[in-house]
């Protein structure tokens, strides 16, 4: 892996280890088992084992700016197989969280947009209004007709709701969302 010149943040390994609760992050000896089992490694710029290596070397910018963290599907195959007991999927989650907090989501624009729309729906209704979220998402990415064939099919099976289901105590949602860290 050629890293070229990039800023080194020697504290990033420790802060990621702390935030993700992974004390063994520094133990990784690059066996590559995570990458071998990863179903989406084929679409990643840095493979899962390389992401861990980037953290060990303090390459914060490269890790946060990677496409890999947004292509990770969170399937936990890596976590299940890591001989060092590192919950790699959890590390990926933390990298996504930090990337969003620091406004470095260029490689994950669509995923972040989807998550935002999803959470807005949960905050408002207490439950996610799938139809509304998907319609808003397709509209925002400029592909309003992306899934029309599916919509037509789901209408036939009366699977599409047009009105969200709201819980009674939607006010409690505001409390849960209140301390959410802004991105």
């Amino acid at each position: 892996m050629l890293l070229g010149k990039s800023q080194i943040d020697p504290g990033f390994l420790a802060s990621t280890a702390r935030a993700s609760g992974q004390d063994t992050l520094s133990h990784c000896y690059q066996c590559g088992k995570c990458t071998a089992g990863c179903p989406t490694a084929f679409a990643m710029d840095y493979k899962p084992n390389q992401i861990i290596r980037l953290l060990q070397l303090g390459h914060k910018e490269k890790a946060l700016g990677s496409r890999a963290i947004w292509v990770c599907a969170g399937c936990f195959t890596c976590t299940t197989r890591c001989p060092c007991g590192i919950d790699i999927a959890q590390v990926m989650d933390n990298l996504r969280i930090v990337a969003r907090q620091e406004g470095r989501t260029g490689q994950g624009k669509r995923a972040v947009l989807f998550n935002e729309l999803f959470l807005r729906s949960v905050r408002r209704n207490g439950r996610v209004f799938e139809t509304g979220v998907v319609a808003a998402f397709n509209l925002k990415i400029g592909k309003p007709l992306h899934d029309t064939e599916l919509a037509r099919f789901m209408l036939k099976g009366r699977k599409l709701r047009f009105v969200p289901v709201r819980i009674r105590k939607t006010a409690e949602m505001a409390g849960l969302f209140a301390k959410r860290k802004k991105g």
């Binding site: 989807f114 959470l119 996610v128």
Partner: protein
């Protein structure tokens, strides 16, 4: 048996047939499902990729409601199941998180609720009891049981062996159908990547369908609304993207069990699938 039921948002929308089948079949087996009153969304991928506190606090509210009612919870959706189990784990093992969540929630979770997947709840009835209910054996039907990720991984929250799960196979075998051995039973369908990185997710779906078909499976059984939606309703998009011609029906496991128990296909929501399963099932009865 009386157990709390957490359907999750998809079961009110795109996966309503899973809800129909789960309620009908459990009722038939004498399991009383008590829907958690005023339950809220578990937050799913959107929450855990965005904010750690929110990812625990959303499921925690449901756990507290169940605890106050003295109920354990059964969860049909793999993703909800994993989020509830993870929240339970965090709240019982991490004091700092527990206090922070209690702060935003205004209520304390004592950690007494047991969370089961619907697979476990059905298996608890007993495989012999299930077999005894079969009036319409699905003999000759080859089923690929698809577990996906979150029912079995990570091992700390999974309900079966992460590499070689058996629960669904054993449940499906009570119908006299054949549960085929196949390699992709616990591979990932891409889940929410279908929105974040569609081309990547479609590739994963294509591989799973290919492996199921190559093994000679006539239908795929699953236990997750996101898996079902990716494998079933995206089949047209997969065929378009890869020049394939897959037409494998993807059923929820209680639908198969329900059919074997002689429940009406319509009541089990069999007409709502993208790939019509009725032809494959007619092979059996015909």
């Amino acid at each position: 048996m009386r157990v709390g039921y957490y359907p999750g948002c998809s079961l009110e929308n795109t996966a309503k047939e899973y809800d129909l089948a789960a309620r009908l079949v459990t009722n038939h087996l004498g399991i009383q499902l008590v829907e958690i009153p005023d339950w809220n969304c578990c937050g799913a991928t959107a929450a855990h990729s965005t904010d750690h506190l929110l990812a625990v606090a959303l499921p925690a509210r449901n756990l507290v409601i169940a605890e106050e009612m003295g109920l354990d919870i059964t969860v049909p959706c793999a993703a909800c199941y994993q989020r509830l189990r993870t929240a339970h784990r965090e709240l019982t093992e991490n004091r700092a998180v527990a206090e922070e969540v209690a702060g935003v929630l205004g209520r304390q979770y004592r950690g007494t609720v047991r969370i089961h997947s619907l697979l476990e709840t059905m298996a608890d009835v007993g495989f012999d009891v299930l077999s005894a209910q079969v009036v319409n054996p699905l003999k000759g039907l080859r089923v690929a049981c698809y577990y996906g990720c979150l029912l079995v991984r990570p091992p700390s929250t999974g309900c079966d062996d992460p590499e070689s799960p058996q629960l669904m196979d054993r449940l499906v075998e009570t119908t006299k159908a054949e549960a085929v051995r196949w390699g992709y039973h616990n591979e990932c369908c891409g889940a929410a990547l279908i929105f974040g990185a569609r081309e990547v997710a479609l590739k994963l779906v294509q591989r799973i369908l290919r492996n199921a078909v190559d093994t000679g499976a006539q239908v795929i059984a699953c236990a997750c609304p996101l898996c079902q939606s990716n494998l079933d309703i995206r089949q047209g998009q997969v065929n378009k993207a890869f020049g394939t011609n897959f037409a494998v029906p993807v059923l929820y496991f209680p639908q198969l069990i329900g059919i074997a128990m002689g429940l009406a296909p319509r009541d089990l929501g069999l007409e709502t699938h993208f790939v019509d399963p009725q032809k494959a099932l007619r092979i059996v009865s015909g």
